[in-house]
Subunit: 172 residues, 2 copies
């Protein structure tokens, strides 16, 4: 069990992860608490930095941005300068909703959102492949989303024997 949050915190977090418009009164009732202590717990989790922010989730399909692709990117030469240059260009590519460096054969994994295949092709040609920074690209077009959540799996946090600083360690 985490020393940071207890069972009640976890229940609260799980609820507000899914729906940030729940009132404190609603939340309190659902976790079996009165509004004040429930509010104080939320406040504490904000102060701790566990709660980062509340955001509004939009529907890309409704907005005509239903074409999504996972793109793995390999730089011709992954030097520090080239990494920085690539990431600087990224600033001007609104299509990229996610970009991280990864281990393995490729350097980056991106998630790209466009209107359709044609717009994606434009993105590839005019942006991603426009410089000689990139030596290889692999596109995995998303056909169907089985699961897509902004929620963190809190249940994993409360699990037994975390590798924490247990002074006299038991088994791992």
């Amino acid at each position: 069990m985490s020393d940071l949050i207890d069972e009640l915190d976890a229940r609260i977090l799980n609820l507000i992860q899914e729906d940030a418009s729940l009132s404190v009164a609603d939340l309190a009732e659902r976790v079996g608490l009165s509004p004040s202590p429930c509010w104080r717990r939320i406040k504490r989790l904000e102060d701790l930095g566990v709660i980062l922010k509340r955001v509004t989730v939009l529907d890309p399909d409704r907005l005509g941005l239903g074409f999504e692709v996972y793109v793995s990117v390999k730089l011709s030469l992954p030097s520090r300068a080239n990494l920085e240059a690539f990431e600087a260009r990224l600033e001007n590519w609104p299509e990229v909703v996610s970009c991280q460096t990864v281990t393995g054969h490729e350097d980056y994994m991106l998630r790209v959102m466009t209107r359709d295949m044609h717009a994606y092709d434009d993105f590839l040609r005019d942006k991603l492949l426009a410089s000689d920074l990139v030596s290889g690209v692999e596109s995995r077009i998303i056909m169907r989303s089985v699961r897509q959540t902004t929620a963190v799996p809190i249940s994993l946090v409360l699990d037994k024997d975390a590798p924490k600083e247990t002074k006299a360690a038991g088994g791992k």
Copy 2:
């Protein structure tokens, strides 16, 4: 320009995408509107389904879930039955925060969140590779996140010449 949303809607959406706790009064001021029409626009976007929900974003690192991996999965035989079987098992894997079917050599792309490498290894052995459904797995461990947003690139929605039903089409 989209027939669904106008410039003002786009500005509102961009603001609440980043911060759902902005008050209507704040929003109104920032987009140069009074609270009432601003509120009505938001209401309309909710009714249209453009706004799906408000969620709370947590910090995985603070919760001790800072180890994230992109996992591409290939099924031994991607039959309908096997796809369904795989997706049914997924229900019991809280580590998977994202899963979609993709084009290319693999069948699925997952995003997995665990405490550390050890926990990820457990996930692989006890869950993902436990059945004979899966014939191949490639793990891309996330080293650093360059960009990670829940926001949709609204700017792309308002772009000129969308492939909409323009009765007498101009040039593309």
